[in-house]
Symmetry: C2
Subunit: 284 residues, 2 copies
């Protein structure tokens, strides 16, 4: 009798536990470099780093702002100031007094929708928040209602915080879901990227009991030392990442296996798009 029972956790990742590659494992050609100006590196006061893959094709105005904020070193000395249980972690300027640098478009129009719904792999079943969803060739989770499409607020995706009205964010204040996927924010908040390394350093932060999960005092904040685009870091510190492409039978096979796993697992015939995010890895 073994009582330490372990849940199945078949990552859609590069490394397979099996010695022999499975048909759903990526081959080397499935990995593609993420450009240096699409990687945002957050250095935390704890010495840990969080790395975000930016999505300029989906939110160009906000990503332009984010790049300018990083190059102006605007986030240096800011903090993670909000950690709300089963909801989000949020970071930026908790004082609300730091002026935005020159060249920032304050409150650009919201970028909720993308031009076309064209996933490389489409999920078998509809979900509670859309009529279709899937993963784009370059690895982004998208959903659609038949006429419009949008990036989905999965765990670890990065959104632009704002006031009650749309088009009131700049990209200076960002958040990420740290509990169940925050899909009800879809089409309501601009999504600018995905945390591809270090999400645990946000997700394991102490929760705040104060209103909206904002830490009651700045002493509770997690300091942000610096935020840089990877290309602006010294070569020795520059991380290099690759995404797993979705437009190949290996990834599609992995999604179908997640939707209909082999016995003795009972197949439910579907899986949520947030449950099949493609792996991102450090370049070997």
């Amino acid at each position: 009798m073994t009582r330490i029972a372990f849940l199945p956790f078949a990552l859609l990742a590069g490394a397979s536990i099996a010695q022999t590659p499975a048909a759903t494992d990526p081959v080397e050609a499935d990995w593609h470099a993420i450009p240096d100006d699409q990687l945002l590196v957050i250095a935390l006061g704890t010495g840990k780093r969080v790395v975000i893959r930016l999505a300029p094709a989906f939110a160009p105005a906000h990503v332009t702002n984010i790049r300018a904020l990083a190059r102006a070193r605007w986030w240096d000395g800011t903090s993670v100031y909000r950690v709300q249980e089963n909801w989000v972690a949020q970071w930026g300027d908790a004082t609300e007094k730091k002026p935005l640098p020159a060249g920032i478009t304050d409150q650009p129009a919201a970028e909720f929708e993308i031009a076309a719904f064209s996933p490389a792999v489409r999920m078998a079943k509809t979900d509670s928040y859309s009529t279709a969803s899937g993963i784009t060739a370059d690895g982004w989770p998208v959903a659609s209602n038949g006429t419009q499409a949008w990036l989905t607020h999965c765990y670890g995706m990065v959104g632009v915080a704002r006031d009650a009205s749309p088009s009131t964010g700049s990209g200076a204040e960002l958040f990420t879901p740290i509990g169940q996927s925050a899909r009800r924010l879809d089409r309501n908040y601009t999504v600018v990227g995905r945390i591809v390394e270090g999400i645990q350093y946000f997700a394991a932060l102490p929760r705040s009991d104060a209103a909206m999960g904002v830490y009651a005092s700045r002493a509770e904040d997690l300091p942000i030392v610096s935020v840089r685009l990877a290309g602006d870091l010294p070569a020795a510190e520059r991380p290099r990442f690759q995404y797993r492409a979705a437009d190949n039978p290996r990834f599609e096979g992995a999604v179908r296996a997640r939707e209909n796993p082999k016995a003795p697992t009972v197949a439910l015939g579907g899986a949520a798009v947030c449950d099949v995010l493609p792996a991102v890895r450090r370049a070997p």
Copy 2:
């Protein structure tokens, strides 16, 4: 310009921010006591407590085991030994050597399905893992494929860990999803309850990089001091909780408002069952 932008977080909870009760707020009659033998209180080495509402109507054999384990004080001195990023926290006997007490049915038949799908409030849209879902009158999230029904693995629900084959768990090793909802475990793992207080003390634990998220050494474990049914605690320490009933127009209204919020929020026409779990509160 306010740059500290806050996400909407309309809890389906008792306390409303508004001074005037909304039509979707519960009235006193909506709150019902949770019996003492359906509350499992975990005292952690940190001095914090985690409280689980048990679901004997859904998993009677496993809940019988859990009650016997608590009464035998079997969990005292065990630990939370597995914390896997965006997946689960798991607790019990990390040594795999502690004998089960007398009276435990080792490896009872899995209790995946329940007799009937009869939610008090049914979600407007189907989801990726079922053809229908909703909340029962007494507040449990359920889903169905048309012929069978089951409790859903939302964030904070409690499941029975097991080996690769079904019907290999006893209830001694338990887990809870701490990231996005683990719905792909539905119908594959026996669900025995829901954490109703203190989930943050599991969700904010350091993640393990070791295989399956099991802490590499027992020194990393979070000690469990004791686990007791509320009714077995001294009266002064006994917590009293109430669940919000779902079989009333107020709760239904709250679900419909979540599915179709007012402008300027863009209504998606649906929400996931894990996104509308009814509040549980300490008895006033």
